[in-house]
């Protein structure tokens, strides 16, 4: 009895995603060697966020999963960010 619902992703698509990821990696390295001051972290984190989005949605097949699971994943990231922000309410104002 087949019980699989996973979408099959072609090799081509996967290799394309890898190329984008590698490109983004070199962009990060490149960006941090310019001195963008305080923005470097922001840019590095944005790129890392983009990369993880690609990995999550394609490599991890999230793009083809149920809406529920996608919401849950988003929820976990949001929860984490909220916790960090709240902790900084303490540290930023000390």
């Amino acid at each position: 009895m087949a019980n699989n619902t996973t979408h099959t992703i072609e090799y081509r698509t996967l290799s394309k995603i890898l190329l984008v990821l590698l490109f983004l990696t070199f962009v990060t390295i490149g960006v941090t060697s310019f001195h963008l001051g305080p923005f470097t972290v922001t840019v590095a984190l944005l790129i890392a966020g983009l990369k993880s989005f690609l990995v999550l949605s394609n490599f991890m097949h999230l793009k083809y999963e149920s809406l529920l699971l996608r919401i849950l994943v988003a929820m976990v990231f949001v929860l984490f960010v909220v916790i960090v922000l709240i902790t900084f309410i303490d540290y930023a104002y000390r």
Binding site: L21, T28, F59
Partner: protein
């Protein structure tokens, strides 16, 4: 009636296993999340020290490891594609490549850590307490975070080795591949964490 009972005995619910794996990944994300929280707070307090310390790390090794992990992440995804297409041989090759990449990553790490340890920079060494607070915290975090990440690589490798043999014995096949799917998910998690570790540890300015 009886048929139903038997059905339950062999009950298999891939959706459930996959959801379970995702939930487990959530806990792993938050496990590292705690560390990233610690990192961000110390980082905010000692920006310059963190920057100086990060210069001690080799961006090249870090970049190579990033590429290796991204590549292995793709190959493990391809292994899944291969299994779905009932292409056992390719699946084995892809898992093999992934495992090779994992080993290469660890080898690099070993090299990197060894270098630091040679210079007397490791937790508990005589040199560490002489550093000022910011540097000390950076290296503590460096060792702890990359160490825990390496541990996860080893766990992921174990899982993939199991998958390898199950693919070989056709226990994982195009009708039943949820184990490989979960192994791959776990491997992507390891990659995901590294995606954040790399810029935060190696590329600070």
């Amino acid at each position: 009636m009886s048929e139903k009972a038997i059905h339950v005995e062999e009950h298999r619910d891939d959706e459930a296993s996959k959801l379970g794996m995702w939930l487990f990944i959530f806990t792993e994300l938050l496990l590292f999340g705690g560390l990233f929280l610690v990192y961000s707070i110390f980082r905010a307090q000692y920006p310059t020290e963190f920057h100086q310390s990060s210069l001690e790390l080799s961006v090249t090794i870090g970049a190579i490891n990033t590429v290796v992990l991204l590549f292995s992440s793709m190959t493990v995804a391809m292994a899944l594609t291969a299994i779905q297409k009932n292409d056992q041989k390719r699946a084995l090759i892809f898992i093999g490549i992934t495992l090779f990449c994992a080993a290469a990553f660890l080898f690099n790490k070993y090299f990197e850590w060894g270098h630091k340890i040679e210079h007397g920079l490791y937790p508990g060494s005589d040199l560490m307490p002489l550093l000022d607070r910011g540097h000390l915290l950076y290296f503590s975090l460096y060792f702890f975070m990359t160490g825990l990440h390496a541990l996860h690589i080893i766990i992921g490798m174990t899982l993939l080795i199991v998958c390898y043999f199950k693919v070989k014995s056709k226990n994982i096949n195009d009708h039943d591949y949820v184990l490989l799917e979960n192994g791959a998910l776990y491997w992507h998690l390891v990659d995901l964490i590294w995606i954040f570790l790399f810029p935060l540890m190696y590329l600070i300015s």
